[in-house]
């Protein structure tokens, strides 16, 4: 019988696949990435803090694995395929966890955000509106939508501790 944690992962798959597909741009690479991340997560499940967001923990693992493959491919040269890179990433037992988000972190960050930034973020990222539709709905130019959206996401990333370091895969 599947463990509770494994059932959680399976239930998260649609969102993990969406995330991985956004990162990689290719469905086959995305699913490979998700599979490796889930294996990594199962081995490291004791490091996940109950009561925090499992999805954000998984996004962090997926993101770190993906960036690792890019680093390795760059070092190894263009002939190394992504499967080999993922195998290597899986074997080295590198720390990939952290970034345990509380359940209210995003909501709280949004509440603190300036209104003009939050509104754009809600339209695009929560209500899935296009930039153009958001611009129309708010009566502002698309360029303004984009600059506010970028600022909103940078602010959000900073607030929840998602600031990318120079290394990229260590501390979130």
């Amino acid at each position: 019988m599947a463990s509770h944690f494994a059932e959680e992962l399976v239930a998260l798959l649609p969102r993990l696949r969406r995330f991985a597909l956004s990162l990689t741009g290719r469905a086959d690479q995305a699913d490979d990435l998700v599979q490796s991340a889930c294996e990594r997560a199962l081995r490291a499940q004791d490091r996940w803090e109950p009561g925090t967001r499992l999805d954000s923990w998984m996004f962090c693992i997926i993101r770190n694995l993906w960036i690792d493959t890019i680093r390795r491919r760059k070092r190894a040269g263009p002939t190394e395929d992504i499967d080999a890179a993922l195998d290597l990433a899986g074997a080295d037992g590198r720390e990939t966890t952290e970034n345990a988000l509380t359940l209210t972190a995003i909501g709280a960050a949004l509440t603190r955000m300036p209104e003009d930034l939050r509104v754009v973020l809600v339209h695009v990222c929560i209500e899935d509106k296009s930039y153009r539709d958001t611009a129309t709905a708010l009566g502002i130019p698309i360029g303004t939508v984009m600059s506010r959206l970028a600022r909103a996401r940078r602010v959000l990333a900073g607030e929840i501790g998602l600031v990318p370091s120079e290394k990229g895969s260590a501390k979130p």
Partner: protein, 270 residues
């Protein structure tokens, strides 16, 4: 073609699917070759993924069987290495209403960590929106953490609460909502108790109360009815009992009868 620095907004547009196909391809090729660019790009993808409505992904094509199987296989291997696996005792369950009241439904000790309810679709994104997200959330200071939230498509949920009579059901999202009863509480608000159940991606059910205010239904209370795991079972009747207790605490004299409910519905639940 320029190989200059890539502005944040281009990365963001790629993350949001707003770049034309040829620009997307070009930019992805650059990202695949540049860890720093990839890191910046990933931040835009991640902030969107964290803020997004979790219900949206449920309408994607289901994951390939092979992917699910690989996870379950690895899980079985790991469990096989742990002969004293968790799950043999009944964990404690704390119910938390939105007003912070706590009750304990069942006590017990988890072999590993505290009680966990299905968190997979459970993102508490409370930004003042009406009941598209059913939330009873709080990290318990003691013992296990309990979060119950199943994201439902907001518009479908609102419509169901408006239209479905108590005792009837309707498909909402990837499951079914069944309306249980309607109450007028001490504040004068109309509240409706309902259950939501689904089989995929995991079997889970929820008993909840939503009250109508300012033209929309807002979640007041929710508790898991059943768990995905069969060895950790909270009978739905227990959840319903707690929901009923909560309604009494809110000052309901009991459910309204069929005729009264029909009248309320005609009057837009006022």
């Amino acid at each position: 073609m320029t190989r200059g620095p890539v502005p944040d907004e281009a990365l963001m547009a790629l993350a949001d699917g707003e770049l034309p196909a040829d620009e997307s391809r070009t930019l992805r090729a650059r990202i695949a070759d540049d860890p720093e660019l990839a890191t910046r790009f990933a931040t835009f993808v991640e902030t969107r993924a964290l803020a997004a409505d979790p219900a949206r992904a449920q309408s994607d094509a289901p994951p390939p069987d092979a992917l699910v199987a690989s996870i379950l296989r690895r899980d079985a291997e790991i469990q096989a290495r742990q002969p004293t696996a968790a799950g043999t005792t009944r964990p404690g369950l704390h119910v938390v209403s939105q007003r912070g009241e706590r009750e304990v439904l069942a006590r017990g000790v988890s072999a590993r960590r505290g009680w966990q309810l299905p968190l997979a679709a459970s993102i508490a994104l409370a930004i003042g929106a009406a009941a598209g997200y059913l939330v009873t959330r709080e990290t318990a200071e003691r013992g296990g953490a309990v979060v119950v939230s199943i994201a439902l498509p907001q518009d479908q949920l609102q419509a169901a609460l408006d239209a479905v009579a108590s005792g009837d059901s309707r498909k909402v999202g990837d499951g079914t909502i069944t309306l249980v009863s309607t109450h007028r509480i001490a504040s004068g608000e109309i509240c409706r108790e309902f259950e939501f159940a689904r089989e995929r991606p995991v079997r889970e059910s929820l008993v909840a109360i939503a009250c109508r205010r300012d033209g929309s239904w807002r979640a007041r209370f929710a508790i898991a009815g059943t768990m995905a795991r069969s060895d950790v079972f909270v009978p739905a009747s227990g959840s319903a009992a707690l929901a009923d207790q909560h309604l009494r605490d809110l000052g309901s004299p009991g459910p309204v009868d069929e005729a009264a409910e029909a009248a309320l519905k005609r009057n837009a639940w006022r």
